[in-house]
Subunit: 448 residues, 3 copies
């Protein structure tokens, strides 16, 4: 088993039987059956990942204040829509088509192959066309759909960290660049078969490629934007600004947990037994993360904290994302436990250095994404070597430099031109009034 | 490829291999494998559509005022339950059994065939029975389940438009007729193989048969009921009555978007590559609709409106429903963009003529359903002809006349007998008190 | 067809073709195709059941008061996490490995077989290993995942009944025992092939094994804890303590209804036609339960009650769980109707005898679970006999004695040692302050 399956997906073309039952059993499942199953599997796991957009929307709206809720919801629906359109326009090609090591190709509009289009119009397909489509192992459109929903997840990560103070237009512009260019380029390095894949970097479902990339971009934005008014007192004290609707946040985490059963196993066509193990590993890491963060917060704050527990589950999920296909269930529990502790400490650390992250996304996705990538090397079932761990660290650092660096420059540019942040007055009233023009809760008495 | 696949489904019986891989490849997948996959596919897409009941419930409860929330939720759970029971009692037979052109047969209770029941009791099934069941291409009960969840969607559309002023009993009576008789009859015209199907009408997953039928019935109800008190001032001014819980409405739209990945692709057993393309088309149209409505509302109202953006996503989804299997991804974006603009203008139009629709369902489902049906002709991949477009227009008009006409008469009859609308005093206090006897938010300070 | 399929699952090993198409058709689907489909089916139905954790969390948080909301959410995320970990550590072995009639084996940590692990590391698998894995009919890890999500459901049932007054630590301790020991032991009696299975007891998906076991444990806890302050007046009057957020409760029920399409059909690998019928039966019973409870509450209280209607849907679902694979759709409606009436009467009964159950879980899961188990005998398609019904009653009673008895002793022990209930003052302020340290709704004006 390779440390990096996804990068080798193109190599599976023509041996679709492998996709169902790796090894000697492959001959028993026909190419056509494998094609049908692989395609269906991409679509089912894809709709689960799509639903993560709802999870992020609920999580983020629950953790901000009520005066900024309608705007964060608008951002979440807009970013999911924009991600799909940008990935269709240029993103997919930049990430997957003729990757030259560091970037794919610029070609406008993604469209299915002529053969696949002909197969849909069944009466026009020749036998060669059918053979070409089936020989690919899965419908390219099902793969496109699956890759597209991943892009949106990255953008969702950023929106939480920048909530309650960023203007709407600049956020949407950043989303266009992130989903159309920034994410596809790091993606091409590994899943497109570029230089990280060639080095043997292992990131099965994207601890680095999705979560850290999103987390570090969010970090850059948080630094350029600065903290929310009142978050850090002049005496150095950190003021808690609690979320306004904890049930929404909890719902969001449950939806994300569900979505991860698409996010992690969907990244493989490498065998149904692998998929089953990935389900188990994903769940164990999340469970361990939730328990670890609950106990850590109990220990530190004397009472268990629901927000930390929720982020602990997410930390476990992010942590297992890179290694989910390469580690044992017992290792998954360990990875989740460490992620659950780490996320609490990380949230406290960023508050200490006065980087304001209303939802803790930098800690959950950036920090625990890096941890998960490292863990995929340390706990891999074939044994960790210095070389394996070294490559993992290189990938972690490369993704940080690229994502944080480009995002920082981009946010600075936006800030210096059209401006990034709402005015002080607008922030006090709430961006729902200034940016959006309406309240989220029109009948309720809410505090300002 | 036909413009109208669903109508031809019965014709596929006996050649189930076609259902997985259309064209020359069919021989490679055994009839039994096809049977298993088709059945499983109906069930998976069916549970996604079932979950749309939750989406409608959240959307509608979020967009009404808090004083009417418990009642709209009760209606939504009741209508989903009633839809299933009525479709079981008489609806399915009226829609699918021995359709004579304009209506199916009256037979009480739907039940699986003797052969399929025998197969379940495996030891009783003869080889002929097994061959008959498998030869059908899918379990008839999986198809029944899938068709049943569609009926509920139609009823959900109506409940939103009539919210905040209709009495509970009359609404439930209307639901019984809509799901048991009204919807199955138009359904029989096309999906049952009736006169519309014979004309070559194209409505793959129900822009007209589900959405317009629901939307026009809702329009009839809104006209008979009249607007909510205070909606239209004596000076002709339109008073906005904003929804009380935008996060719920946003959650509802995300759930509906997810459910559409069952709604659109589930309507086919015509090939897994078709299913993949339908996923892509469905998503692109929704994304385009959301962006278009956001920008349109930004342009018209000077600020982007979350409610319009949410309805824009739904408009795109409704718009692509008829043509999802017959148009390219690029056309899907165009269809969605136009739907997104259209829904904003339509909402403004109905307010102009003082037809009060608290959730905008007539615009989303009625108007954009008609647009989607037209677009399925205009953008179809084999090329639009005047004849094709003409048939589409005939279908749109026929569905309008039937659905609006019968619903109007029915609402009038109810109004003149047991009464349709709550009293003025009850409406001011909120129907949760008069119709239901409890608040939705017992601990919160809410405005009246 | 046996009355008890799940117990016979191990017997299917080696004849995987049976799993897809029972009876004479089995030869047509290869063992490998069956293996892939069965495994995928376990995972899809498993993720639906996993999402029930979100359903329970929303239902319970909607039905308590706002001052106890953050804590009930924390409990729900914690219990799902703990259930997975405990089932991994000891539960699965106690339930399924070498069951000696009354209990399985004590072995620490569940792990996939050597052969399956080798298959994942494809290059290490021998042909014999592949044959062994495939011959099993499904990946053991997919089965493990499916069984694990069931455990969490049981724990969720308990948390609702004990809400608003139990301390957090004692609840978590009880959850550890329930998910690690208590539930697996009754499970071993039937699904592990123990004494109930040998008697011919029928409980397809767990009306007794999951729902009654949870419901009776909850009943024991409610008795030991006593009612909430103010629930029963000194004059004997029952004071309604309505839930604080009905949309959340409704969302929870819709999610649970969705999840049941995994819960019931996932329990079989006995034929795809069976799965289709189970979908239909599950939906019809839920629909009938919702309507019956709505009408019953309308009749008794003069107004339809949303809480009762929601619980009616759940009652129908619990009621059909035991018999979903053995009764006809028409019988399913009858079973659901009776469950819907029963749940209203049962809720009133427990209030009459002053056992306080904030969410009605004892009635929904305990009482209707018993009803469903009885109904699986009475309505089974092969005909009810006194012997069959007698065995069902024995199983119902045995589960009650074990679950109620052990839970009662355990709650008493906890109460006498570390204490079970918060102080009177803490209960008045709300456990969110005393147990958790934060509000669920920080911006809203809420009543105490």
């Amino acid at each position: 088993m390779s440390l990096s399956k996804k990068a080798f997906l193109p190599a599976l073309a023509g041996v679709a039987g492998v996709a169902l039952l790796a090894g000697p059993a492959q001959a028993a499942v026909s190419e056509e059956t494998a094609f049908v199953f692989n395609t269906f599997s991409f679509l089912v796991t894809g709709f689960l990942v799509m639903f993560m957009a709802a999870g992020f929307a609920m999580l983020e709206s629950g953790l901000v204040r009520s005066k900024n809720t309608a705007t964060i919801l608008l951002k979440n629906i807009a970013l999911y829509a924009i991600a799909g359109i940008m990935f269709y326009l240029i993103g997919y090609s930049l990430m997957y088509v003729d990757v030259s090591g560091y970037i794919g190709s610029f070609s406008f509009l993604y469209n299915p192959s002529e053969a696949e289009t002909a197969l849909i119009n069944a009466d026009e397909a020749t036998e060669e066309m059918v053979a070409a489509v089936v020989g690919n192992g899965y419908s390219v459109m099902s793969d496109w759909f699956f890759q597209m929903v991943f892009v949106a997840a990255t953008a969702s990560i950023v929106s939480g960290t920048l909530a309650e103070r960023i203007k709407l237009w600049p956020f949407l512009i950043f989303t266009v660049v992130l989903t159309g260019v920034l994410y596809p380029i790091t993606g091409s390095w590994q899943w497109g078969g570029g230089w990280l894949a060639e080095m043997g970097f292992s990131d099965f479902a994207g601890s680095t490629l999705v979560h850290s990339v999103g987390g570090w971009a969010a970090l850059a934005g948080a630094i350029v934007l600065g903290p929310r008014i009142g978050k850090y007192g002049k005496d150095g004290k950190v003021k808690a600004i609690p979320g306004h609707n904890i049930p929404l946040a909890a719902l969001g985490v449950f939806i994300l947990w569900l979505g991860w059963f698409g996010f992690n196993p969907g990244s493989t066509t490498a065998g149904i037994t692998d998929i089953a193990m990935i389900f188990v590993n994903t769940n164990m890491a999340a469970a361990a993360g939730a328990v670890a963060a609950m106990l850590t917060s109990w220990f530190i704050f004397k009472k268990p904290e629901i927000g930390m527990s929720l982020n602990g589950a997410l930390a476990g999920l992010v942590g297992i994302t890179a290694g989910c296909a390469n580690v044992s269930p017992t290792s998954s529990i360990l990875i989740g436990l460490i992620a659950g502790v780490l996320v609490v400490l990380s949230v406290m650390f960023f508050d200490r250095i006065k980087i304001d992250d209303p939802v803790g996304a930098v800690s959950v996705h950036g920090v625990c994404g890096a941890w998960g990538t490292l863990a995929a090397g340390l706990f891999n079932m074939e044994g960790a070597t210095a070389a394996i761990v070294g490559v993992q660290i290189q990938g972690i650092i490369a993704a940080f430099i690229w994502s944080f660096g480009v995002a920082f420059i981009l946010f600075k540019l936006i800030d210096m031109t059209i401006g990034l942040r709402v005015t002080e007055e607008e922030e006090m009233i709430g961006v729902d009034i200034s940016e959006h023009g309406g309240h989220a809760y029109n009948d309720f008495q809410v505090s300002k």
